[in-house]
C-alpha cells in the first residue's frame, strides 16, 4: 500500500488536472496521493475538497488535501486552520523556515530541505527536532529528475547526507515524486530503488512510502475527529 504525499496539480502551478494525476497514480499502483497546494484563502479549501471528492469517486483512489507553506507567515496561517485539511507541508530551502518547520508539531512534511542550497539544509540539531516533533524529511524525486550533471550530483550528495542524519536521529523520512505533471509521477518501485541508492535499507525505503504516509494520514483523521483537542490530547 503505497502513497505519494507531494503532488502539485493545476491549482498550484502544476500542469495536470486532479483527474489526470489521480488516474496516472492509480495506474502506477498507488493506494493514495496527496495534492499539496499553495494556500490562498479559506474558501479555496472547500472548493478543492469538493473537486477532490468528485475525482476520488470517479477514479477510486484515496486522495488527500495538503497545503505547502512557502513562508513563516503562511505557516502560521495554515497551523491555525490545521483541522480543515489533511497534510501540512513546508517548502524547505531557507534555514530559518527549515528550523521553524521541524520545531512545529503540526507540520507533517518538510519538503526538499536542500532546494537551491549548497548544503543539505538539515544538521544534527534539526534532525533531532524533526524526530522529536515527528516531522518527516522529504526526498524529492523530481529534484533528481529535472536536474542534470553537477547539479544532480550535488542534490544527490545532499540527500544522502540528510538520509544519514535522519537515520542516526530516527527522524522519519518520506520519499515523494514531487510531480507537477502526471508525466513526472513515478512507479513506487522506482522511488523505493532511489531510496536504497541514497542510503536507505530496502525495508526503510518501503516504509518511507507506506508506513510514514499512513502515520500522517492516521494523525489527520484523528485531528478531524470531534474528540481531538490538541496534539497528544483527546477526549475519551
Amino acid at each position: 500500500m503505497y502513497f505519494d504525499m507531494h503532488v502539485h496539480s493545476a491549482f498550484s502551478g502544476g500542469e495536470s488536472t486532479l483527474k489526470e494525476l489521480a488516474t496516472r497514480a492509480k495506474m502506477l499502483g498507488y493506494y493514495g496521493i496527496c495534492f499539496s497546494e499553495y494556500f490562498e484563502s479559506k474558501s479555496q479549501i472547500r472548493e478543492l475538497q469538493e473537486e477532490i471528492r468528485e475525482v476520488e469517486n470517479e477514479v477510486k483512489i484515496k486522495i488527500f488535501l495538503g497545503f505547502e507553506a512557502k513562508s513563516a507567515s503562511e505557516l502560521r496561517k495554515l497551523v491555525r486552520l490545521r483541522r480543515e485539511y489533511d497534510v501540512l507541508l513546508v517548502r524547505g530551502h531557507d534555514l530559518r523556515l527549515n528550523r521553524l518547520a521541524v520545531q512545529t508539531p503540526e507540520v507533517d512534511i518538510l519538503t526538499h530541505p536542500e532546494l537551491n542550497r549548497k548544503d543539505s539544509g538539515i544538521n544534527h540539531v534539526l534532525a533531532r527536532e524533526a524526530a522529536k516533533n515527528n516531522v518527516a524529511i522529504e526526498i524529492n524525486f523530481r529534484n533528481i529528475l529535472i536536474n542534470f550533471k553537477t547539479t544532480r550530483a550535488s542534490i544527490i550528495k545532499n540527500m544522502m547526507k540528510n538520509v544519514t542524519l535522519c537515520k542516526k536521529y530516527k527522524a522519519p523520512i518520506i520519499i515523494c515524486s514531487g510531480a507537477i505533471s502526471h508525466w513526472q509521477l513515478r512507479d513506487p518501485k522506482v522511488l523505493i530503488s532511489m531510496g536504497t541508492l541514497l542510503g536507505l535499507e530496502l525495508k526503510e525505503a518501503k516504509q518511507s512510502l507506506s508506513e510514514v504516509p499512513k502515520k500522517i494520514i492516521y494523525q489527520a483523521t484523528e485531528r478531524k475527529s470531534p474528540k481531538w483537542i490538541i496534539p497528544g490530547v483527546k477526549e475519551l
Binding site: R24, M27, L28, G29, F141, I144, L145, I146, F148, K149, W183, Q184, L185, R186, D187, K189, V190, L191, I192, S193, M194, T196, L197, L202
Partner: protein
C-alpha cells in the same frame, strides 16, 4: 574456437526486469534503447554501467503492449530500476516507465508479458 561455457557457480547471476513504457504516442524500440543507454551512462558513468552489466533484450520488445525486458546483474536491480525512472522523454514524447516484474528467469517475465498481451 568457441570458449567453453563457465560452470554455473562461476556464471554471473542475472535478473530480468519486465517494464512497460507509458507514453503520449507509441514509441520505437531504437528510441528506447538509445534513451536507456544514454541515461545509464549519464547517471552511473562508464564504470557504473559496466558493473551492472545491463542488456536490453531486443527480441522481447512487444510493440503492441510497449513492454520490454532488460537484463542486469542480480546485485544492481535497484540501480537499474532507479535509472529507468529517470527517463523522462524519448525525443519529443514524454514517457513514464512502470515496472511489471523482476524475475530470475526470462520465462517468469515472459509469462507476465504474455498475460499482459492477452488482456489487452
Amino acid at each position: 574456437m568457441k570458449l567453453k561455457v563457465l560452470p554455473s557457480s562461476l556464471r554471473e547471476k542475472k535478473r530480468y526486469i519486465l517494464f512497460k513504457v507509458i507514453s503520449e504516442s507509441p514509441i520505437e524500440y531504437s528510441d528506447l534503447e538509445s534513451a536507456i543507454w544514454n541515461t545509464l551512462l549519464d547517471f552511473l558513468g562508464e564504470y557504473g554501467t559496466s558493473k551492472i552489466s545491463a542488456w536490453l533484450l531486443k527480441d522481447r520488445w512487444e510493440n503492441a503492449t510497449q513492454t520490454c525486458i532488460i537484463r542486469c546483474n542480480h546485485l544492481f536491480v535497484p540501480t537499474i530500476i532507479a535509472t529507468l525512472g529517470l527517463i523522462e522523454r524519448l525525443g519529443d514524447t514524454r514517457v513514464c516507465i512502470k515496472i511489471l516484474k523482476v524475475s530470475g528467469t526470462i520465462k517468469g517475465c515472459k509469462k507476465i508479458q504474455q498475460t499482459f498481451k492477452n488482456s489487452k
